[in-house]
C-alpha cells in the first residue's frame, strides 16, 4: 500500500486523476442505468414489467412485448454454449496436458487470435459459409433422420437459431478455452503426478485431478462465455433471420434482444416504440451485469481456493 502522505505534489495530482477516472467509470454505469430507465418509462408506465413476458411485437398497432427476443437470446446463447464447451475444454486440455511445447504455443496463440476477429467478419462468414452449408447439407440431413424431434422440424432455411448458435459458439470459444486453460494451469502438479503414480492413463489422470478439481472454474468460464453470447450483436443479426417468433425448432428464424436493437433503433416510429426498444436494452444490460458478476465471483473463488492450498 502507498500512503497518501508519501506522495509529492505531482504524484498527488496523478493519484487523484486516476482515482476520479476509476470512479467515473462506475458513475457512467449509474448514469446509463438511470437514463435507460427514464427513456423506457413510457412502456413501463403503460404495461409494467409484463412487457418482458408478452410475446407480441407490432410497431403498427403499437403492441410491444419482449418475450420472443428474450427467448431468441437465451436459445442462441445456450446453443452456443453447448457447442462451444466440448471444443473449449478439449483445446484447453490439449494445450495444458497433452500437446508438446511447440503445439501448445501455436494452438494457444491461434485460439487467442479468434478473439481478435471483428464481429462483422464472423457475421459475413456465417452468412456466406455457415448458412448455405446448413441449408443444403446439415439441416436436410438432421430433418431426415431426427425430424421427429421438435428441435429439428420445419423447412431447412439456413438462417435462424442454429446458424446464430454456431456463429456464437465460435465467438465464445476463445473466452472459455482461455479461462479453462488458466484454471488447469493452477492445479498443483502433485495431484496430476499422484494420479499418474497410481497407474492412471492420461485420460484417467485428467478426469481424476484436472476436471474434478476445476468443475466450478469451468462453470465460471461457461457463464462468462454465455455473457458474451448474450450481448453479441452484429454477427448474430446477420444470420438469425430477424423474425419475432418463439419456435422450438432450431431451423426457424428468430430474433435476439441485441440484434433487434441494431435493426430497429434507427427507425423507431413512435415514442412508445423507442421506449420499448430502450426497455429491451435495459433488460439486456441487467442480465449481462448479473451473469458477468456471477461468473467473476465463481472464478475468483476458485482462484482463492488454490492460492490458499499452495
Amino acid at each position: 500500500m502507498i500512503r497518501r502522505g508519501d506522495l509529492n505534489f505531482s504524484d498527488k495530482i496523478f493519484y487523484w486523476v486516476l482515482k476520479s477516472l476509476a470512479f467515473g467509470i462506475i458513475g457512467l454505469l449509474v448514469v446509463l442505468f438511470i437514463l435507460l430507465l427514464k427513456m423506457s418509462w413510457p412502456i413501463f408506465s403503460k404495461i409494467g414489467l409484463s412487457f418482458y413476458f408478452l410475446n407480441e411485437w407490432n410497431p403498427v398497432t403499437e403492441e410491444f412485448g419482449a418475450m420472443a427476443f428474450i427467448y431468441g437470446t437465451i436459445a442462441t446463447a445456450l446453443l452456443a454454449l453447448v457447442l462451444s464447451l466440448p471444443i473449449s475444454l478439449g483445446s484447453a486440455l490439449l494445450v495444458t496436458e497433452l500437446a508438446n511445447l511447440h503445439v501448445r504455443r501455436v494452438l494457444g496463440f491461434l485460439i487467442e487470435m479468434l478473439a481478435a476477429i471483428p464481429s462483422i467478419v464472423y457475421g459475413l462468414w456465417g452468412l456466406f459459409v455457415v448458412v448455405p452449408f446448413l441449408r443444403t447439407d446439415v439441416q436436410p440431413f438432421l430433418g431426415d433422420y431426427l425430424g421427429f424431434l421438435p428441435l429439428f422440424k420445419g423447412p431447412p432455411i439456413g438462417v435462424g437459431l442454429m446458424a446464430g448458435g454456431i456463429v456464437l459458439a465460435i465467438m465464445i470459444t476463445p473466452t472459455i478455452a482461455t479461462i479453462c486453460r488458466e484454471i488447469f494451469l493452477t492445479i498443483p502438479k502433485v495431484y496430476k503426478e499422484g494420479a499418474l503414480a497410481l497407474g492412471a492413463t492420461r485420460w484417467e489422470m485428467i478426469q481424476l485431478s484436472v476436471i474434478r478439481s476445476s468443475l466450478s472454474g469451468i462453470l465460471g468460464a461457461s457463464i462468462l462465455g454465455l455473457a458474451r453470447a448474450l450481448g453479441e450483436t452484429m454477427a448474430v443479426t446477420m444470420v438469425i433471420g430477424n423474425r419475432a417468433q418463439i419456435s422450438s425448432s432450431l431451423f426457424s428464424p428468430a430474433q435476439t434482444m441485441a440484434s433487434l436493437l441494431a435493426n430497429e433503433y434507427a427507425e423507431a416510429s413512435s415514442e412508445i416504440h423507442m421506449a420499448s426498444l430502450t426497455a429491451i436494452g435495459f433488460g439486456l444490460l441487467l442480465v449481462s451485469l448479473i451473469v458477468n458478476s456471477l461468473a467473476r465471483i465463481i472464478i475468483w473463488r476458485v482462484g482463492r481456493i488454490y492460492r490458499r492450498s499452495k
Partner: protein, 257 residues
C-alpha cells in the same frame, strides 16, 4: 551375514541408471539392489538427485518435458523400461512430500481409486480392501465413521497416511516415499516412522529423507547420493557407524549438506 541374505528375494535391481533433465545429467550411473522387506533410505544434500532417482523407479521422471533415462531398472526381474509405464505404475506405490488426496473424492474413494483404475468395481471387494488398507496405514480407527467425508478434510498427518493407504490398496511389492514426513509435525512424523516398521512385513520400501536421524531409525539399507552419484550403499548400521567413504562420513557427521 551373507547366508541369511541369499534366501531373500531381490525386489528391485538398478543397473547403470542415468537420468537427465534436457542436457543436465541429474543421476549418474547408479547400481543397487533392494531385497524383500528392506527399507532403503536415500540420503544426501538437497539437489543431489534423490527425487529424480526415486522417480525413475516408477517411470514418473519421464513425465517431465525433456527428461530422459538410460540403463536398467528391474522390478521382480522385469525390465520396467521395456514395459507399459501405466502397468508399471500400478505395481509401484508412491507417496509424495506433500499429502495429495484427490480433491473432491471422499476418504473411501481416495483409497479405492487405484483399485477402480485396475478395473475392480464390486462394492464388497472395494469395501474389504479399503478397510484393510486403512488399517495397514494405521488410519482406520480415526476415519471409520466418516469414510464419506472428503479426504482433504483430514489433518496433514492423516492425509499422508491416507495417501499411504491409497498406495497400499493395490498391494504393490514396493512403496516409494519421497520425503513423506518433511511437511508434517513431529508427532505425525513419529507415527509414520512407527508405521514403516509395520509396513515392512507387507512391502519393500524406498524412502527419501533429508533427516539423517530418520534414516538411521527407520531403514535397513542406506544409499548416500552426492551430485547425482551414488557414493555409498550398504547396511544402515555400517553406513552410519563405519562409512567406507570419506564423503559419507563428512555428510553424516554434519560437515556439509
Amino acid at each position: 551375514m551373507p547366508n541369511s541374505q541369499v534366501q531373500k528375494n531381490t525386489i528391485l535391481e538398478v543397473k547403470e541408471l542415468n537420468a537427465w533433465f534436457g542436457d543436465f545429467h541429474a543421476v549418474k550411473n547408479i547400481n543397487l539392489k533392494v531385497e524383500q522387506n528392506d527399507i532403503l533410505a536415500l540420503i544426501g544434500p538437497s539437489g543431489c538427485g534423490k527425487s529424480t532417482f526415486i522417480r525413475t523407479i516408477n517411470r514418473l521422471h519421464e513425465e517431465v518435458p525433456g527428461a530422459r533415462v538410460t540403463g536398467e531398472v528391474r522390478l521382480l526381474g522385469q525390465d520396467i523400461y521395456k514395459m507399459d509405464p501405466v502397468k508399471i505404475r500400478r505395481q509401484v506405490g508412491m507417496v509424495f512430500q506433500k499429502p495429495n488426496p484427490f480433491p473432491g473424492l471422499s476418504i473411501f474413494e481416495n483409497v479405492a481409486v487405484g483399485l477402480k483404475l485396475s478395473g475392480i468395481q464390486r462394492k464388497s471387494i472395494l469395501t474389504e480392501i479399503v478397510e484393510k488398507s486403512l488399517k495397514q496405514a494405521a488410519l482406520w480407527n480415526e476415519v471409520k465413521d466418516k469414510l464419506n467425508e472428503p479426504g482433504t478434510s483430514l489433518s496433514g498427518g492423516q492425509q499422508q497416511r491416507l495417501c499411504i493407504a491409497r498406495a497400499l490398496a493395490v498391494t504393490p511389492p514396493i512403496l516409494l516415499m519421497d520425503e513423506p514426513t518433511s511437511a508434517l509435525d513431529p508427532i505425525s512424523t513419529a507415527r509414520i516412522e512407527d508405521l514403516l516398521q509395520d509396513l515392512k512385513k507387507y512391502v519393500t520400501i524406498v524412502i527419501v529423507t533429508h533427516n539423517m536421524q530418520q534414516a538411521s531409525r527407520v531403514s535397513t539399507k542406506t544409499a548416500f547420493f552426492l551430485s547425482g552419484e551414488l557414493i555409498e550403499f550398504g547396511d544402515t548400521s555400517q553406513v552410519f557407524t563405519k562409512p567406507n567413504k570419506q564423503k559419507t562420513e563428512e555428510y553424516i557427521t554434519g560437515r556439509f549438506g
